[in-house]
């Protein structure tokens, strides 16, 4: 198949040319540096390009939202990061932000307003759901039609912000075989990586949280575990490896599944 090279628009370049994109695509640290999540950033960028959405990334000007610092108690560092970001957003007249990380989504949507940063914050999951609903994204059902897909709710989309239906609608547009773990939606078990846990060893216990969660998934025997958070992805992929199920079960991000189904 013929391929085309994608140029990801960078905010500074657009502004130098006097252009202003509609959306800021906030890639997040995981999208920028985590080898696995870089692919998710790529997949979502392909979808945005495919839809001819007017967007740009901050690139080298992007910096941590402050979420891991804040949840680990370092309010001082969080607020310094937040004010820095708010300044950059002001400079580029940012109004709409799309994120591919629930932690970034939550902090922009719920916590930046307290420091004077008011934006329309959109999770890529909401965005994909809308684009499918309005017919702009025409998914190819044959790709995953019969695959048993289960969805692991990330805490920061689910309980934190009540986004349970959007990801499920996206997945139902891909497969007729969406299956639920026993603990799902607001009952979903955390992957174990939130609140700064991603970056540290777990406290002493009998078990790792990600193994407990992977076992939830294994019980219903899925072919694909769909995630929508970089930390959850790390955890679930590790869990699948730990259980030696890499052959039978794949872990994809929702954006990757959509991009694959579109044949991008």
């Amino acid at each position: 198949m013929e391929t085309v090279k994608i140029e990801i628009p960078v905010m500074a370049d657009l502004f130098a040319r006097g252009e202003k994109p509609e959306y800021l695509f906030w890639v997040g640290c995981a999208g920028a540096y985590d080898d696995r999540y870089k692919k998710v950033a790529g997949a979502f960028a392909k979808i945005l390009t495919h839809l001819k959405v007017s967007f740009a990334v901050l690139g080298k000007e992007e910096t941590c939202t402050g979420d891991p610092a804040r949840r680990a108690g370092n309010e001082m560092l969080y607020q310094m990061q937040a004010f820095q970001n708010i300044e950059i957003f002001k400079m580029y007249e940012v109004e709409k932000i799309i994120t591919i990380c629930p932690h970034c989504y939550n902090i922009f949507k719920n916590e930046y307003p307290d420091l004077g940063g008011h934006y329309e914050v959109i999770s890529y999951v909401e965005f994909l759901d809308k684009q499918i609903a309005n017919g702009k994204l025409k998914l190819n059902l044959s790709k995953f039609a019969n695959d048993r897909i289960t969805y692991h709710d990330p805490c920061y989309l689910g309980r934190a912000n009540g986004i349970y239906d959007d990801p499920r609608r996206v997945l139902r547009a891909l497969t007729t075989n969406l299956i639920e773990m026993d603990r799902n939606r607001s009952f979903a078990l955390c992957c174990g990586a939130g609140g700064g846990q991603m970056f540290k060893e777990a406290e002493k216990g009998e078990k790792e949280v990600f193994i407990e969660r992977t076992e939830d998934a294994l019980k219903i025997n899925p072919q694909i575990i769909a995630t929508s958070c970089p930390f959850c992805m790390t955890m679930m992929t590790d869990g699948i490896k730990y259980k030696n199920k890499e052959e039978e079960i794949k872990n994809y991000d929702i954006a990757e599944l959509v991009a694959l189904s579109l044949g991008l």
Binding site: V27, Y33, E61, A72, G73, E75, R159, G195
Partner: protein, 439 residues
């Protein structure tokens, strides 16, 4: 007349003790920290009707949720009957609220039926606690006193209901025997009245008196025991729901005092200026009970130790030391330990101990994933992660103490704007050589 005077004295004693207890709690609340301004009364009322009165979050566990809801709704109905008893007792009347007509009949009939439902419910609750090994009722924080506390409260409720049923039945029996008018409907009382069938009028009357007095005096005693037990829940849970934080669970409240400091630091003109001499020394985060917000303290007083929070906590499920229920119980216990000193000497009081470390260890605090499963699960909207993060804030900002890996995350964010040690120059590597199929 004599009985009226005795009743008035009993009521006065009850109210005096209750006022004293309330006053002490108010003093303690005045020492706690601000949380948020209470606004949106309409929204709060709706939330209270749904979550507290409607018991919606209890139904996350449908069977036990329903049993609890029946007990709660029964309480609400029976409460009206108790108010009537106070009026009757003071005024020397009998069934004074019967002037309310059909509404009275409805309330009395419901209360009569609820009483027997509650007896069954309490029997189930007691047998779960006494004979079944329910995991939710165990844990490091569940000491003997917690179990005794629960069983005492359940037993008192059981006695309250038995005395109410006896009261209703003897009332029906007495009125029937004397051809008097029966005010209210008694579906269960009518049936139980048969038990008094071959007793003399005087004996039935004595029965009625004994049930009446034991019921109301039990209420008076119970009302004054509650504030000193975990069953303070009965009073505090509805206000606690009404005073819930209305924001999404994912939102942490902003620390205004940090915002002020950060703004000073970021402004080159003020960054190195000396602090104003009269600025009070502020503590960031929570080290001891009085550092907690009034909302966290209210949360702790409302907790009835049901353990739903701990049973869904990922850290606890996987054997870590953290138990969200323990965090709430510890705050309450620490405030209780310190209250006499705090009330006498105010914030200056110290006993050399603190909530942090003497009650809640760093190991517990660092095990939290801030997943909010506990807060989601709590039937009365207790916000455990808020307090946990507040205690982390103290550790990090006042003591500079955190697990080594998190300290590394802080310095990475400071130095290169990411939790990992990568250069900002590399932020676009993912976008290099990105190709897409033409579709």
């Amino acid at each position: 007349m004599v009985s009226q005077i005795i009743f008035a004295i009993a009521l006065l004693i009850t109210l005096s003790i209750f006022a004293f207890t309330t006053w002490r709690y108010v003093r303690l609340f005045m020492l706690t920290q601000p949380a948020f301004r209470v606004r949106n009364f309409g929204k709060r009322f709706g939330l209270m009707m749904k979550v507290a009165i409607g018991q919606t979050k209890m139904f996350r566990r449908p069977i036990l949720g329903l049993i609890h809801a029946l007990v709660f709704w029964g309480f609400l109905v029976i409460l009206i009957g108790s108010i009537e008893m106070v009026i009757d007792g003071l005024a020397g009347l009998e069934r004074s609220l019967s002037v309310l007509g059909w509404f009275y009949n409805f309330i009395i009939a419901s209360g009569d039926v609820f009483a027997i439902i509650i007896v069954v419910a309490i029997a189930i609750f007691l047998s779960r606690r006494l004979f079944m090994h329910v995991k939710r009722f165990e844990g490091i924080e569940m000491k003997r006193i917690s179990h005794v506390d629960a069983n005492v409260a359940l037993t008192i409720i059981l006695l309250l209901m038995i005395s109410l049923l006896g009261l209703n039945a003897s009332y029906v029996a007495y009125q029937t025997a004397t051809n008097g008018t029966i005010h209210g409907y008694f579906p269960i009382g009518n049936y139980l009245a048969g038990l008094f069938g071959n007793m003399s009028l005087a004996v039935i009357h004595t029965h009625h008196q004994v049930y009446w007095w034991s019921h109301i005096l039990l209420i008076f005693v119970f009302a004054n025991l509650l504030p000193y037990s975990k069953h303070f829940h009965v009073f505090m849970s509805v206000p606690n729901v009404f005073l819930s934080r209305l924001e999404p669970l994912g939102k942490l409240p902003n620390m205004e005092n940090v915002t002020r400091e950060v703004k000073i630091m970021m402004n080159p003109e003020t960054a190195y200026a000396a602090a104003p001499a009269n600025a009070p020394i502020e503590r960031f985060g929570v080290r001891d009970a009085e550092d907690a917000s009034w909302k966290s303290y209210l949360d702790s007083l409302s907790c009835t130790e049901c353990g739903r929070c701990t049973s869904v906590c990922p850290a606890n499920i996987t054997g870590k030391k953290l138990s969200p229920r323990k965090v709430m119980m510890d705050l309450r216990a620490r405030m209780k330990e310190k209250r006499n000193g705090l009330i006498a000497q105010g914030k200056e009081y110290s006993d050399g101990k603190s909530l942090l470390r003497d009650y809640i260890s760093e190991e517990e605090l660092w095990a939290c994933t801030t997943c909010n499963a506990c807060a989601q699960e709590c039937p009365i909207n207790i916000d455990h992660p808020k307090l946990i993060v507040d205690m982390r804030r103290y550790l990090v900002m006042e003591e500079g103490s955190a697990p080594g890996e998190l300290k590394a995350v802080f310095s990475n964010i400071e130095n290169n704007g990411a939790p990992w040690q990568y250069s900002p120059e590399d932020r676009l590597i993912w976008a290099e050589n990105l190709e897409m199929n033409k579709v």
